[in-house]
Subunit: 484 residues, 2 copies
């Protein structure tokens, strides 16, 4: 069917204010936060009602027009990149908090509500929504579910998938399904976890029921400085092995500390080669006991400085450096590329050292600021997109870092999703049978491959072209490594 005609069909069935089709109107939707890739959609649809959403999907299904859903567009892996022949479906007008149920400690919200708005609405009841991605002021809960977003506190409180209870979705045919429910367990297959992190490939979410947690009575941060990243990495492993699960456990390496110190005053020690920030929360008694415990762990691990936040202002100051790390590094370089891989904690030091070697090999500086407690690395490659070939070298270096993560038994994403960005690395992460299983699951929801096609799960053909050597769960040898 002719594209013009499809837009006319939409116009016939939806109010004019739900449809954008002029180039200047489409421009804001040409990319998400992975801005290296851009593409104008055929048309943007911004439904206001469930019925309008259903109408849009049914039209797309009937005329086999692909659909890319978009929340706030803060995604880092290009999951909301439009297709030139498809609908960009914005859920921005599904932005109401429908219910805060304090007895059952849940909130029912529409997908366009921001992550932080949920916690703000729950705050008068002493409750909050735990996952806290860095973009929480802006990112939408629908996008959080689509990407299975994490945050600093997911070490203790889990990812999005651990903090939601139910979804209401529409299939590509416009059929409404309730996924999950109020109980801890749900009969039938667990489609709730399956939908979470499915990057818009299985269905369109129109309502999310999230769990709310009571705000901990106390929270304090231990800041520990170390002479080397090796020592800090060993301290991370020792923390967890000692039986403590901190609310957050973050690591900054020397280039990151250096960048942050030039940017704001955080009280980070001058000579540190690595800093750990370990947040402990719970009752005041418990926090005090845990601070003593981890302080001893860090002394034993060779900490050169140990500081404990004594009030909320100091706690915020310790975190300010972590939070400012990305903008601070943005001042060191015209562009940066934030990676997102996860490795078993015990390989932290080895992998960080190998990243330093790769950085030298490619002549591109790398800073590391990351969720050390759950082994979720965020190496930041600094580059200049105006230097010919530098983006390509950056992407190649990024790919090698992700393959390094897989080679030690880790994964190519911690919390940002696969999207467009890491689709080639999926060929490294999974073997043919596993990818075929993913495609079969996709088929079970979206047989004509209309929901966000080309993202998250590569075709076998693409993997063959990419020519990936499959290093499965560190079992096979890999050029990156001798053997772990």
């Amino acid at each position: 069917m002719h594209e013009e005609t499809f837009i006319q069909l939409l116009q016939k069935q939806l109010p004019a204010n739900c449809i954008l089709s002029q180039t200047d109107e489409l421009r804001p939707y040409e990319c998400d936060a992975l801005s290296a890739y851009r593409q104008l959609p055929l048309v943007v649809v911004i439904p206001e009602t469930l019925q309008q959403l259903q109408t849009t999907l049914r039209l797309c299904a009937r005329h086999e027009v692909p659909v890319v859903a978009r929340g706030s567009g803060t995604g880092l892996s290009g999951g909301a990149m439009p297709l030139g022949n498809g609908v960009l479906l914005s859920l921005a007008r599904f932005n109401r908090i429908l219910e805060i149920d304090t007895l059952n400690r849940i909130a029912r919200v529409q997908p366009g509500v921001t992550n932080l708005a949920i916690s703000s609405a729950a705050a008068p009841h002493g409750l909050y929504y735990a996952p806290d991605p860095s973009s929480q002021i802006a990112c939408s809960i629908g996008g959080n579910v689509a990407e299975n977003a994490g945050g600093v506190h997911c070490l203790k409180y889990g990812l999005t998938t651990h903090n939601i209870q139910a979804l209401e979705i529409l299939t590509i045919d416009g059929e409404a399904l309730t996924i999950g429910g109020p109980a801890l367990d749900s009969p039938g297959y667990d489609l709730l976890a399956l939908l979470t992190g499915s990057e818009g490939l299985l269905g369109i979410i129109y309502e999310v029921t999230v769990k709310l947690l009571p705000k901990p009575a106390a929270a304090q941060v231990v800041l520990a400085a170390f002479d080397s990243v090796d020592a800090a990495g060993a301290a991370v492993t020792a923390t967890i092995a000692s039986g403590i699960i901190p609310a957050g456990l973050e690591l900054l390496d020397k280039p990151a500390i250096h960048a942050v110190r030039k940017f704001i005053d955080t009280g980070y020690p001058e000579d540190a080669n690595a800093i750990l920030l370990c947040e402990l929360d719970g009752s005041q008694e418990d926090v005090t006991a845990q601070i003593d415990h981890v302080s001893q762990v860090y002394r034993d691990a060779g900490a050169t400085t140990l500081r404990v936040s004594h009030d909320e202002a100091e706690r915020q100051r310790f975190w300010a450096g972590r939070k400012a790390a990305f903008p601070a590094m943005g001042r060191l370089s015209p562009d940066y590329y934030c990676m997102d891989g996860t490795i078993p904690r015990k390989h932290l030091a080895t992998v960080l050292n190998r990243i330093t070697e790769l950085s030298a090999e490619y002549g591109l500086p790398i800073c590391n600021v990351f969720h050390a407690g759950d082994g979720n690395l965020h190496p930041l490659i600094l580059y200049d997109a105006n230097q010919p070939g530098e983006l390509e070298r950056t992407e190649e270096l990024g790919g090698r870092i992700l393959e390094l993560c897989v080679a030690v038994g880790g994964t190519i994403t911690g919390e940002h999703g696969v999207g467009l960005e890491k689709i080639n690395q999926m060929c490294v992460q999974f073997n043919e049978a596993e990818l075929q299983q993913f495609h079969a699951v996709k088929q079970a929801f979206d047989p004509h491959n209309l929901l966000n096609p080309g993202k998250a799960i590569p075709t076998l053909h693409r993997c063959a072209e990419f020519g990936a050597m499959h290093v499965h769960h560190g079992q096979l040898p890999h050029p990156e490594l001798e053997r772990f």
Copy 2:
């Protein structure tokens, strides 16, 4: 193909000690712990190696012979009930603990390892595996994964799905897939949660990686007695609403207390109409603070007696009554039927009162001992199978209790699975589109419907025959209830 010939094919490819085909050898496999239903399988296969397992599945796939997997056979919903024309596949010989990794706090085990054996193996390292179904001495981890098993402590520590990290499975075609991995998030669709609780319908597990937790430094139990189940139910809601998540929060009603008191000496107060057992764990400081906190909550909620365990022996004695409840009630009646439904906590009192009315209506006594904290009811219907029609009336009463759970927004299973037992109630829980989606997912793994057919997910035809009135998430009126 003739059945005789299929057994001969198995015999040609597998060692003799892996195959049972004589009636007396098959007898022990005719049911699991839902012993009201029995069926001899065509043949039992007990492979010792992965290759033998793969051979068995490939033969079944090629000749379209159905396969029912079985762990220890302790399941309560008939999930491991054999098929007369199928293979009963016992994983009993996959019984090795492959690795305890204390740094990453995980254990890799084969599916036939018992739940308790994992904790025992981890104990020297101060670690344990959290989910603790009542059958933990006997039940296998493979069965736990298949049923998404819970236990007393799942309120705080989650179900099986929250405590595993990876599965190695074979598809019905004998293809090996790695599902999940060491990281908190995994790229691609979350098949780990999908497989967990899928009741043997999607694949055969041959290895499980479980998370291990540090043993809490302290654990104490608060025992609170109340004048009525209503008051105890309100106290449960108040506990959670006050911001505490106990390690366990169990409720016993008057018939249950009465049965237990006649059976063993637990120190339960004589005149209680309902008892709550609230376990608190963590550091000693934290436990002490939490005991003060919940004691105040229970005083405010009208507790008539409050006791705190002061040493491990007393804690064990408080729990002994809870643990002895089922055998104790077994002495009151020739047979009992243990139900398993989940409701939103706020409806506890209403639902328990309605169960009392239903008990009178059917003339069948019901005791209630259950995981109150997560709203997971286990009403025990006492009956005598030798009285003509009494089993049928019991099953009908059970069905009405489950429909009552659905009508208040709950579910028909908390932790025992659907199996054969509750397959009709699935028609009440889900609508046609949702059931169709389940079948599509099944199709994506097992297109010829050979893995545990007839369990867990009813055909639409069956639902039509059952004539269920669909009461979806409490949204529609239902004969059981006016409206909540």
